[in-house]
């Protein structure tokens, strides 16, 4: 067994996903000696030109499996490809992004080669004593963190939560090895047939299902203020909601109302913008995981429930915040 780290590169339509670059960055941080290598496994159809960029982002080697059958993701052929690469490489660690692809592929692969797999990791480190990978991840609905080890089986496999690890900036002075691995695919490897691929357009969701809500109150001033909140919500991949005051004023639809006579929500992030925090409103959102409140009035009751309370003008802060988040996300990759 080598001490190499294998990183599964997730590509969709020939575009490498950010999580894979994050994993290359993390893998570089995990290897300790020069004899250990970060190897990227790139599977797809006509994707060979992506290999260089992977090396610039931290891979020492790229193993490519290129076949028509891999054009669109399917469990069968991709499991076969990745398993073949693992068998060839014999790595110590294999990392996947915890995406809807990674969480379909990694368990199948791990079961095929009989090894341990840890899901949705938010931290990875090498145990100084044993050399084992310590994989830390949320469990119990996110209420606890658990550190998992796979001591007796190799490779140690993990899917890693996107957006947690840091990608390295592209360094085009880096060079590395590239290799094409021929995998013997047959027509039956599909097992299923893709009748159609449908690209989704974002539909307006029920605010109770949103992971992030940017919520407006009387303090945003007028109906146009929701446009500003919408832009902030977009940077967060979230949705817009409202206190009762804005609904009563006709600035926004009733189905966006949070509170006693509206909806109860528990998103990961609730941004209360210009909301005073009347008890009827609190009843609808105080269970949110992270509450950030912005209000001009430093005695507003919303600050009693906010994890982070900012006294200030929403109309100034919100656009700046949207801009700052956009910048931050660009810098990360």
């Amino acid at each position: 067994m080598s001490k190499n780290i294998l990183v599964y590169i997730e590509q969709r339509d020939g575009k490498v996903q950010n999580v894979s670059l994050e994993l290359l960055g993390k893998a570089r941080g995990l290897i300790a000696e020069a004899s250990e290598k970060v190897v990227a496994v790139l599977a797809g159809y006509q994707i060979q030109e992506l290999a260089n960029s992977l090396i610039w982002r931290g891979a020492d080697e790229v193993i490519i499996v290129d076949d028509r059958i891999l054009e669109e993701y399917m469990t069968g052929p991709y499991t076969k490809a990745v398993t073949a690469v693992i068998k060839k490489c014999d790595p110590s660690i294999v990392l996947f992004g915890a995406t809807s692809i990674g969480r379909d592929l990694a368990p199948r692969v791990s079961a095929r080669i009989h090894t341990g797999l840890t899901a949705d990791c938010t931290a990875l480190e090498i145990d100084g004593e044993t050399g084992n990978l310590l994989m830390t991840r949320p469990a119990f609905g996110g209420n606890i963190m658990a550190t998992i080890v796979c001591a007796e089986f190799r490779p140690q496999m993990a899917t890693v939560r996107p957006g947690v690890m840091k990608a390295l900036p592209a360094d085009n002075s880096r060079s590395g090895k590239m290799e094409v691995l021929a995998v013997d695919f047959v027509a039956g490897d599909n097992h299923v047939k893709i009748r159609e691929v449908v690209r989704e357009t974002k539909k307006s969701r029920d605010i109770a299902e949103a992971k992030c809500l940017v919520s407006g109150g009387r303090g945003i001033g007028n109906a146009k203020g929701f446009q500003m909140l919408r832009e902030l919500a977009d940077t967060l991949g979230g949705d817009v909601s409202s206190s009762r005051a804005c609904v009563d004023a006709g600035w926004i639809e009733k189905n966006r109302q949070v509170g006693q006579t509206g909806k109860t929500v528990r998103p990961a992030l609730y941004m209360a913008c210009g909301i005073s925090g009347a008890i009827q409103h609190l009843a609808g959102m105080e269970e949110s995981e992270l509450i950030i409140a912005i209000n001009k009035n430093n005695t507003a009751p919303i600050f009693d429930v906010a994890d982070l309370g900012i006294v200030g003008d929403v109309n100034v802060i919100v656009p700046k915040l949207a801009e700052a988040i956009r910048k931050y996300k660009l810098c990360k990759v």
Binding site: Q260, T261, I279, Q280, L282, A283, E286, P301, D304
Partner: protein
Amino acid sequence: MDFNLTKEHRLLRQMYREFAVNEIKPYAEQTDEEERFPVENVEQLKKYGFFGLVFPKEYGGAGGDYLGYAMAIEEISKVCAATATIMAAHLSLCAAPIYECGTEAQKQKFLIPLAKGDKLGAFGLTEPGAGSDAAGQQTKAYLDGDNYILNGSKIFITNAGYAEVYIIMAMTDKSKGTRGISAFIVESGSPGFSVGKKEKKMGIRGSSTCEIIMENCIVPKENLLGQLGKGFGIAMKTLDAGRIGISAQGLGIGEGAIDETVKYVKERKQFGKALASFQNTQFELADMRTKADACQLLVYRSAHAKDSGVPYGTYAAMAKMYAGDFASDVTRRCLQLMGGYGYTREYPLERMMRDAKITEIYEGTTEVQKMVVASSMQLK
């Protein structure tokens, strides 16, 4: 004496609770504000077997028991007393007497659609001149060939206007007093049958409460329920069992009020702390919680007695008496704890307080219940 619920009753409660909160509660406010018959709730209740809960499967029922029924009314009442009224009147006052006293033909024709919820039921005993003095029936019925002809009017009939099957009491022999009253199954489409004025009520506003008018109403003679002259006994027995449902309703209304208030007092802050940390709030709620538990024990015990086949009338009377008082008392006190906000229609407390009152009155007033209990003590 095992105070634990059986496994099936625990699972029933779980289902009732989820169902009430997710399916019934969303319509509660509108039902009250618009005095609107909650058709969506009725549809859902029908779908899951609520309307025939206690009747055997062979008659389209769920094969359940009165404890399961009481718990269903309890959970529904926590979120919408009006919906509970609709269900209780249908099941206890219309379907149940047909099950208990009807011929096989009557069960096939009427009980099955009632149990399945395909038809809604109602019960007509009360008249303008005969409330607690139920024996003073003015509605008359006489036999004319193959039919009975009914003349008279009934008031305060729950489900009137939506029900298709009515159990109507009428005097068939005035000279015999209460032994001259008979029970009839009357279908809404019968010639001479009409629904009159709809009452505007203090509470349970979503329940349709109307006058029924019979003018030479033609009722086939096969629709005589039980024997001639036995109607009063059927009515009293029906009300006995109906009390189990209404006591469960009072229990649920009060429990619903306590739940809302507990939530509120934990959130609402005055004088720098949550209302919940003030001793008055704590003592009031502790007292009400204890009364709720006592009420629940009375209600469940009366249901259990009926299910066990032992005499239950006194238990049911005690439960109803206690629950009516409990509901009115607790809703009033809870609203007080909620203060000004509790008085507004933004919160459900004021509706619960308005809804509670009827449980002291219908299906036998609290005073009638006391008469029943006193009688059981042989106090003359």
